[in-house]
């Protein structure tokens, strides 16, 4: 052992790190290394003295953080909820024949809508881009958007069409459309759709509607009204009438805190017979039912979101697909363990579970409060 080899160990020793016996032996016999250790000690003490005499004793100014808006945490949830409102169809860059997002609206709208609007959208070359079926939307429901894109050798036309409102025998259609020439940033153009104002058109059944698009030509809409929802459209985005469906991922948020996120398998069941519960080991269980039960608080189920309040704090549950169509009441209660609400359910082995769990059960088995 020589001084050069021992030096770094002496620095570590000064910081409380263990050193080898060999270095210890060298240090006890070496004046130069002893002097190094003493110098380190003196330098450190002097630096702390300087710190005490300067910075840490200075008056602390008023924190400017108070005037800074905590934008991220708050807006994160708002933004997220906004974009999670309803899953949109993926943009298709080929000739497509999509059903409109309104597929399955029969669940609640079938009894209230007078008719259905079946339409086809054609491009500038007369080729069909897509077709859809939507309620005529007498209430102006905002969820009926359809998004799409069509590629051409010289660019892409992006469009977003909303079946906006039934007005007498006609249907108001709101549309945004944009032409992205070849070589332009396609995605940037697509994003620009968000900022564009809608143009409104009044469509009369049996006639053609022309939607002019700068630089492209025009899109054509042809359609007619049906008194009944076609059977092939009924099954789609929403579950059948009287059924709720839970699709992963499941995300539970309390205020702005993410409580649990799970990507387990989903399930579905009759709203009259079944409940579902979502929980983990640390937060316990949140039991949800479309039927009221004793001790539960009332919340709101809207598409793929459930919003409720427990102990004064707002909660949000998000699922991967709409649970049901529209906005309905839901009842929620918190429990510590599965057996607290359903003795017939097997206990969860949290060690094997590795994350939150989703369970379904029959409402008749609920251990409701007397």
């Amino acid at each position: 052992m020589n001084c050069a080899k021992a030096a770094e160990c002496i620095s570590a020793l000064f910081d409380g790190e263990p050193i080898s016996r060999e270095v210890t032996a060298h240090l006890s016999d070496c004046e130069e290394c002893s002097a190094r250790l003493n110098d380190y000690a003196e330098m450190g003490a002097d630096l702390r003295e300087i710190a005490n005499a300067t910075g840490t004793r200075q008056a602390i100014p008023q924190g400017q953080w108070r005037s800074a808006e905590p934008t991220t945490a708050i807006n994160w949830l708002m933004r997220w909820r906004g974009t999670m409102r309803i899953p949109r169809f993926a943009f298709a860059l080929m000739v497509i024949a999509l059903l409109a997002l309104s597929t399955g609206l029969v669940l609640t709208r079938a009894t209230t809508t007078d008719r259905w609007f079946q339409y086809e959208l054609f491009g500038r070359d007369g080729r069909k881009i897509m077709s859809g079926t939507a309620p005529t939307n007498p209430g102006g429901n905002p969820y009926y958007d359809v998004d799409g894109g069509m590629t051409y050798p010289d660019g892409v036309v992006w469009f977003r069409i909303r079946i906006a409102e039934q007005i007498g025998e006609a249907e108001k259609i709101a549309a945004k459309a944009l032409w992205a020439p070849k070589g332009s940033n396609r995605e940037a153009f697509r994003e620009r759709l968000n900022d564009m104002p809608e143009r409104e058109f009044l469509y009369s059944p049996g006639k053609d509607l022309t939607i002019p698009v700068d630089g492209y030509g025009s899109l054509e809409v042809k359609g007619h009204f049906e008194a009944q929802l076609p059977a092939n459209v009924r099954m789609g985005l929403y579950p059948e009438d009287g059924v709720f469906r839970i699709s992963p991922p499941l995300v539970l948020v309390r205020e702005k805190e993410l409580l649990m996120k799970g990507d387990m398998g989903g399930g579905y069941g009759s709203i009259d017979r079944y409940y579902f519960a979502y929980g983990n080991q640390s937060e316990g269980w949140f039991l949800f039912s479309l039927k009221p039960f004793a001790g539960a608080v009332e919340g709101t189920l809207k598409m793929n979101q459930i919003e409720f309040t427990l102990a004064g704090k707002p909660y949000f549950l998000f699922t991967g697909d709409p649970i049901m169509f529209g906005s309905v009441k839901v009842w929620v209660k918190h429990y510590v363990a599965v057996q607290d609400f359903d003795p017939s359910s097997p206990a969860i082995d949290w060690k094997a579970q590795n994350g939150p769990a989703l369970v379904f059960g029959e409402l008749k088995n609920l251990a409701v409060e007397k």
Partner: protein
């Protein structure tokens, strides 16, 4: 560590009282540390404020298992200080000026060790301040500087040796002349 976690949880929940306490506890120490990096009292105060604003606006990224909340704060402060230097350099370029070491306000120039310390390169000054004054462990320094533990050990040693060399060459560290 448990206290840090609790405090962080409250900060994430936008608890202004908790953040004010955090600010009161740490602002002075952070400012003193930043002064060693930027070499300017006003600049250090500005960077300190920016550091707290950043955490208040975006309270994410702290991982208790990687170190203390103070270490996390100092790590962000160090990055903000680096940005401050880049801005100063651009400003100097625009103004056609040369950034002079002597134009900076000395970190602590009223003692022999202070003089020597002020002559250390900034990374070594920053590192020694965190180790000697703030008492950050090697593990915490590794988290702040985002370098391996072994690198921290060798860099601390190198910084001490450099300080000792400057101190000795100025005639103050008599023992180092042996």
């Amino acid at each position: 560590m448990a206290d840090d976690s609790d405090l962080w949880k409250r900060i994430r929940l936008r608890d202004a009282g908790a953040f004010e306490a955090f600010y009161r506890n740490e602002a002075g120490r952070l400012c003193a540390y930043l002064r060693q990096i930027v070499g300017d009292a006003q600049g250090a105060a500005d960077v300190m404020q920016e550091t707290f604003i950043q955490i208040w606006k975006s309270p994410n990224g702290f991982r208790p298992e990687l170190g203390s909340l103070r270490g996390y704060l100092f790590g962000i402060g160090r990055k903000r200080a680096a940005e401050w230097w880049r801005k100063q350099a651009r400003l100097a370029e625009v103004q056609g000026e040369k950034s002079e070491e002597g134009s900076r306000e000395g970190g602590a120039s009223f003692s022999a060790i202070g003089d020597a310390f002020a002559r250390l390169p900034e990374p070594q000054r920053s590192l020694l301040w965190l180790r000697e004054v703030e008492g950050q462990s090697y593990a915490e320094l590794a988290a702040i500087l985002q370098v391996p533990l072994g690198t921290v050990k060798s860099r601390v040693f190198a910084a001490r040796e450099e300080l000792r060399r400057i101190w000795g060459s100025s005639g103050h560290g008599a023992r180092s002349e042996k």
